[in-house]
Assembly symmetry: D2
Homo-oligomer: 95 residues x 4
């Protein structure tokens, strides 16, 4: 079964390409001795962008993979999916 | 006056190069239809790595730029530096 | 149907009673002019404790309410439950 | 020397009294078997409120205690104050 995000793949790839470019941008800022506060501002922007990608992926995962398992899977499969989701949420909240 | 991080520049550049590579890795994971949970795990790792870079930069900034201003600068310069730091902390906490 | 947390209610009530006491403790610290850094340390402890309660509640909710809806509910009920969960996760991550 | 927040003490005490009441409110919600999602919404509101109190305290602390040390203190006192601030920022970001 295709993962939840596959239907939106191009958008995810574009967002990640942009984040990769922003990360390279920070490398350049440090290399060019840009003022610390400006570098920090850029890092906060990337952290938020990554967080939003993660929330969108989690949303897709819950709405497709978890949902499919709950509707069609056996007890073990559902247990596994739900444990995975809860662990992913904890990592996201704690990171 | 050189920024606080300049004395540690090579280490920052190496850390950022690694994060850039990790971000490219996520792009590849999505491109190769890797399971959502594994992608989410990788994003949490990058968010934490970025957060640690930001905390280190902030530490350097406070210990050098802010400290220098407080020791040698006039009232206006100190006000400006402290306002900048507080705004950077808020962005970091809220991102 | 009883909510997911009901089976663990006493433990939640005890944890929340402790957090309430800690919050009252901060009020007292400010009232008694305790050093700022010590107050900040206590606030970080409470924020983490609240976050852990939220993660536990979310875990219970997903494992009971969401699971029950997915196994026995119609499309609309499942949609509603999943949208609620995703909104709760976003609030938790962004707070 | 009075701490940074002392000039704003009444406002801090009022905010903390409100947060304490909100925490008691969550206890009551659990006690009365309120729906999980509604409890989670309230916890996110309290976490944000606590975070804002912490940011305000940190702002006051930096603008008064740290500033005073940097302007009038010796090297050791400044080192101590800056290390404290950086540790407090890390706790706040990581909690």
């Amino acid at each position: 079964m295709a993962h939840g995000y596959v239907s939106d793949k191009e958008r995810y790839l574009a967002r990640l390409k942009r984040i990769e470019g922003q990360t390279r941008g920070i490398h350049r800022m440090i290399d060019e001795d840009v003022y610390c506060i400006d570098v920090l501002t850029q890092i906060s922007a990337i952290t938020s962008a990554l967080e939003n990608v993660a929330l969108a992926l989690l949303d897709d995962h819950i709405n497709h993979c978890v949902r499919h398992a709950a509707e069609h899977g056996g007890k073990d499969e559902i247990d596994e999916k739900l444990n995975e989701v809860n662990a992913a949420i904890t990592r996201l909240v704690k990171s």
